[in-house]
Symmetry: C2
Amino acid sequence: MATTKIINGKLVAKHQKKPLFSHYLPVLSWGRAYQREWLAGDLLAGLIVTIMLVPQGMAYALLAGLPPQVGLYASILPLLLYGLLGTSRVLAVGPVAIVSLLVTSGVGEFAEIGTAEYVHLALTLALLVAVIQTMMGLFRVGFLVNFLSHPVLAGFTSAAALVIGVSQLKHLLGIDMPRLEFLETVLYAGEHLADTHIVTLVMGIMGIAVLLYFKTALGPQLAKMNVPKGVAIPITKSGPLVIVLLGTIVVMAFQLNEISGVKVVGDVPPGLPPLTMPSLDLTVWQMLLPTALAISFVGFMESISVAKSLASKKRQRVDSNQELVALGAANLGAALTGGYPVTGGFSRSVVNYEAGANSGLASIVTAVCIALTVIFLTPLFQFLPQALLAAIIVVAVLGLIDIKTFRRVWKYNKGDAAAMAITFLAVLAISIETGILIGVAVTMIMFVWRTSRPHVAVVGRLGDSEIYRNVLRHPVQTCPNVVAIRIDESLYFANTKQLEDTVLNSITGNPQIEHVILIGTAVNFIDASALETLESLHKELTDAGVTFHLAAIKGPVMDRLVDVGFIKQFGEDHVHLSTHEAMKTIGCSFA
Amino acid sequence: MATTKIINGKLVAKHQKKPLFSHYLPVLSWGRAYQREWLAGDLLAGLIVTIMLVPQGMAYALLAGLPPQVGLYASILPLLLYGLLGTSRVLAVGPVAIVSLLVTSGVGEFAEIGTAEYVHLALTLALLVAVIQTMMGLFRVGFLVNFLSHPVLAGFTSAAALVIGVSQLKHLLGIDMPRLEFLETVLYAGEHLADTHIVTLVMGIMGIAVLLYFKTALGPQLAKMNVPKGVAIPITKSGPLVIVLLGTIVVMAFQLNEISGVKVVGDVPPGLPPLTMPSLDLTVWQMLLPTALAISFVGFMESISVAKSLASKKRQRVDSNQELVALGAANLGAALTGGYPVTGGFSRSVVNYEAGANSGLASIVTAVCIALTVIFLTPLFQFLPQALLAAIIVVAVLGLIDIKTFRRVWKYNKGDAAAMAITFLAVLAISIETGILIGVAVTMIMFVWRTSRPHVAVVGRLGDSEIYRNVLRHPVQTCPNVVAIRIDESLYFANTKQLEDTVLNSITGNPQIEHVILIGTAVNFIDASALETLESLHKELTDAGVTFHLAAIKGPVMDRLVDVGFIKQFGEDHVHLSTHEAMKTIGCSFA
């Protein structure tokens, strides 16, 4: 029995609430239990993630409208802190595409891309995200992310991927473009197609082709050649590194940046990240708050999904609230060292896991490797063409456009599919943050619609038994002056109207009805709105000369009704243990 | 059985969907069935409501920042239209306090009180409310008002009553005051107390005293004197009329407006309402939309509650969606004849009912009487002191401040009480519209919190029966390699996290578990989010070497799962009719 007791949800939940020191510092638990054979896996995984993260970090910074080094700065201290505080042993934190897009759309409203103010607002945004996520974790309100239903998140992600892809057109085509909305960007690119910088475009397309080859065909080919998995994984994941190196060499060799005008990353200051001080101005905070909330929620959702999914493979546990604290700390790290908002990335975490990461040490190894990169390797980036970073972004977000899920959800549930479609369209047509808000609103409207009409049955007696069933489905006996109604749902604000209508309609135009029985077998909860409705129903039925009865109310529900004085006012004589008891008390002689 | 069939909620709902002509024109049904003995009641009720409505209409117009005649104009055509289209036979439509406050706060942002533009925006607002309510009714989305839970509405109403009361300070004290927020108004009045116009104040206080006397002590006194109810009701309800008449006579006799400077209503143009054309400018509509939504929802809630409550006394029916159409038509009438947004008023409807109204004719009688008033009696209002209209408003809203409900809700359910308190404070501290939005948000957050943690039980076999019960409550047998989990709630976006955690925690650190059974006896619905969670759980458990089983899934839920291909992918062998079937198939030898 011990096992089943441990695994009972309630017990685990109680256990969690004891804040052990090691609960807030997971490094203590995996650190103490660290086994020597974990080391090779942690080192290799840390290294492979670095190979992915260096080009990705720069590319996503570019997407966020920031200088490329900011993406690298956001990949050092945040990873170190997550390694110490995170409960997932394999989550790879750092810049991710959708959060970067949210940064552009949020900060871009208040500052010009390329200005110091823009960079400062981005790191202030990281501080705000840190505050929000840490608070959510400490106050254990991680449940709030439940507002983002899967269809809304899927619609949002697909649309965001499209927006991101289209935003890279200017880098791939090598044309100048002002900051525009999605549709305007498409139109602008179409109108200025003639201005395309051919060398840039060729380079971008080749980059995309190479990346797609690495992503799809290379793995099976290596497997066919019997290359061991430990070697194959680093090779297949180094596509971004390969195109970045090749591109840099080509540009440097032919001086394409000067002769042909290919846009390059340019000077990246060498050395460790600077210590930075985010703005503490409350008006700035207020301005950035909506974006910070969106990043906190969306970032956490991406992170926790992959963390849980990977942890379960090894029967390990991820604690949502501690994850929020750890991500909060990572974002604080980003804010203090010239970075911008970070979260756990999906593909990098999967790579980390597959490459054999066993503990938070892998994350710390990555942080150290990135630090070495910014100290020693930045001169290499001088000739790195922006078109290749754009290629990396485009290939990364291609997989996020998810038409299959929409088809499936449409088949399964039209309401959910509508929420998904509306979110998708709202992100494209209005804006990325408004889109997600609209999605949440639609989910809630659907929900209220769904629960506002619970299943209701008028019941009668089955034969001579004490069992009462739906009069429409079973051959049951009823009493001409009594109506017994069962509502198959808890009673709360969303369905009080239905409760009221059901009960009142049962007497409308039926002067022979003298008793109404409400059966509570399926009622787990009665909220204050429903309580008030019961009170007004009681009054209204009494005024109409009808006696109102309650039957089979569950224990905990009854306790609350007694405490608040409702039962006394209602009349204890009219509250019955079962429907049959109620019928007997009324003296119903069955027809 | 015929009776019980009619009263079944589902059947009635189906019946409603057939749009009979008389469904959209309820006058046809009560008109055809009209009985001669109804006439006296309808005439008397119509007259008594007029006596209340003339001073109230002018007072509420003043509260809305409009000239007094606008309140009268809003009491003619709207009442006529409601009388023809409404399903309630006793609802008294017209200007009400809270809607008037919403008009001030919404229109006041865009135009100066006293200007023609302000009046024009107010009638445009009525048009918008008409459009929203009619749409809601025709598309049958009246369920949307379920978002306003009772605690939120109570908190909102109490706070709005306070705001309204305080807004009348300037009229009662006879001081000039700019348009201010709640707290500023209190402070301003405190600072300028020395400027109080004594004659005005005395008049206002006497007005309040007389009104309170009529409202409380007079009724019982008349009853003691054996005055018949038919005479007593008109007398007790004529308090406003009495103070208005007395006040007018006093001001006129002593020329207080000229000599002492008592502010009076002044010239009211005589004659029927003008035909007016609301603005059709979409930017104006967009500007007024939030206020229009608030008025549509809040107005409908006030109206439908009193309509239902009064209809039930005579076992009559009110159709929510048709009510929306009727209120929409009434507002359209207001927009076209120089009025402003209207709805069914609580106290006037009760009076209408008590005075014997039997049909929509009572409403039509009131409309005719008000029309006669604006044609012939407007010269009387010239000397009507504004302080007395303020007294009428103050006494009307006093009863809306509801501390008792708060105490009760607090005792019953802390979450609901918090929603109520937050709404109350937000209305006072921020604004009336933001307050209600915050209230709705809090309700939703509470709801997601509540449903995000359904009751979960790990179950075992009771003796040698086929019954499986909670291992923590019953002496049951379990199997060391199997865990059977029952979730007592439908599975949907709000609790997918809990579902995931519960299932994954059951195997965390328990390498002996080989089978997880999810029991669906309490699952009435699985939405797309939960479906996706089930799929990922299936994958994760498989990866962890655990077999995932489903047991006792309900018929309709199973149908959807089969349709979407989930069951096929899940493995039909792992779907069992009951928990016991699952255990037998697994080959569990009980400990």
